[in-house]
């Protein structure tokens, strides 16, 4: 298992497999959605070949860590088999739910941040970590609605999950920006709240992505986390502040919809790498 360095990586998607295998582009590490490889033997074989050359992170979307009915044991077993086979440096999923009454709804659905939900998420995260025999990271989601029952701020909720279970955090800066914008909170204020709530050592990975802007019925703007564009200027600014607070972290460029050519993705990762390098220089200068 190669550790994921505090450098910029890219989300690897199936259409780029052949090119990555053939040209082995400069990317510090790769992240994939394990659900894309559980039933696809052919894609899995390609990923195994690719993973010989890059540190790997498995970023799940199907564990449904917030489901009241618990984690699907069959899915967890499939994830473990993949983890044993690929030996990734990181394994993660989201602070959300997607299964109910035995149905899987392919989205990261929001939780009410209540005591009950906190107990359930902690139970599920602990169960996953016990079953996999390793620590996982949990990502803050983008939100489009807020429950009246929520009594714990999202950042404090995830910080409590991390403290209780020992899990780490995937700190998704784009999600913070999208959620804050949608809830009419100043993004810089939202970032400060997150930085204050999380233990610095709990952040194992930072995510960056682009998002869409749509107008809803009332004429108001909503931001949708579709991972379908370049990282916007405001998110780059929040990222720089995040690095200043948490220090250099493995940083991922995610791009899922309207997937561009591989060089576009790599160029976006280079922009993150430049900021990481700058932060490293700054840290070094302060140390000496």
């Amino acid at each position: 298992m190669n550790p994921v360095p505090a450098q910029a990586g890219i989300g690897l998607r199936l259409p780029h497999h052949a090119q990555v295998l053939a040209s082995r582009p400069r990317a510090a590490w790769l992240e994939v959605h394990p659900e894309n490889y559980m039933a696809d033997e052919s894609a899995r074989a390609e990923l195994e070949a690719i993973s010989a050359h890059y540190p790997l992170s498995l970023h799940a979307v199907g564990l449904s860590l917030g489901s009241a009915e618990g984690v699907d044991q069959a899915h967890l077993a499939r994830l473990r088999r993949l983890v044993e086979r690929l030996r990734p440096a990181l394994v993660s999923d989201h602070l959300s739910w997607s299964t109910s009454s035995g149905h899987y709804l392919p989205d990261l659905l929001p939780l009410p941040y209540t005591e009950e939900a906190l107990r359930i998420v902690c139970r599920n995260v602990a169960q996953v970590q016990d079953f996999l025999g390793r620590k996982i990271l949990v990502e803050n989601p983008s939100t489009y609605l807020r429950f009246a029952a929520s009594v714990v701020p999202e950042a404090e909720f995830l910080a409590a999950v991390a403290r209780t279970t020992g899990c780490g955090v995937v700190f998704d800066v784009n999600n913070i920006f999208v959620s804050a914008s949608n809830q009419r909170i100043a993004p810089a204020q939202a970032l400060s709240d997150w930085c204050r709530a999380l233990d610095a050592g709990s952040v194992g990975e930072i995510h960056l992505a682009g998002h869409a802007r749509v107008t809803v019925g009332s004429g108001e703007e909503l931001r949708i986390d579709d991972h379908g564009d370049h990282v916007c200027a405001e998110v780059w600014t929040l990222y720089e502040k995040s690095l200043a607070h948490f220090g250099p972290c493995p940083t991922l460029i995610e791009w899922d919809t309207r997937l561009p050519e591989l060089p576009v993705l790599l160029a976006e990762a280079a922009l993150a790498q430049a900021r990481l390098d700058e932060r490293q220089r700054h840290s070094y200068a302060r140390a000496v």
Binding site: G62, L105, D107, E115, Y144, V152
Partner: protein, 265 residues
Amino acid sequence: MHAPSEPALAALQSQMAAALLAVTPEAQQLPPELFAGAHPGAVGLRVHRNTLLGAISNALRMSFSAVDRLVGEEFFDRMAVEYARAMPPRVPQLDEYGSGFAAYIERFPGTENLPYLAELAAFDWQVAALGRLCHASEGGAVLELEGHVRLTFATPLRTHRAAYPVGQLRAAILAEDLETLRAVDLTPGEYRYALWRSDQGVNVRAVSVVSARFLDAALSGADGTAALAAAGEVEQSAAEVVATLAKEILPAGFVRVETIAPQSV
């Protein structure tokens, strides 16, 4: 940390899942007092509904590519969304989702002039499933014929049976070859195909009923004699069976033929 009206999480998730998959505008709503954000809860619910139904449509589109091309994106989305609402996924591996789609669209309103659509979907599904498997250079079925010839079949290899010429249809649709598509004889009948995985992808070859029976028997572990007998059940003489196999199977690319050297005494 406790709101007096806090619903149990299981109940809330069940309510929300039902609202997200509901058809009518009334059933898609949740009580507004559940929400307290800057936007009405219905706005957020709409975003989630679009995301999850879009994800399901796209997953089905990957597995049913010829059906998608034939009916067009908008109509395919309609079929996919209705299917998703009737039979939501049960696992997060969406490439495994859709085993009931072919049957579901068989009498889908608006497809009356496409009697072969469900058959085409079943063929798409078979091709997609095979595409997820790895080509293996070893391990295929081996058959000896009368002690003289050894046949080693490619793996994975499948046969497919349809009431319409779905192989020809699918190839023409995906190639956007309208001329060939119009020329396909759509007379219902018994159409058989061999499908196999190679390093380049999934290969399809139309075969006769004789060859399909021979392949089915070989793939289910029959020996050469039994496979020839199975192929011969379609009332051909033994010589005709062998001639058909020699014409269709031997040059097909999914079988390696070796002559067995006579053993010295």
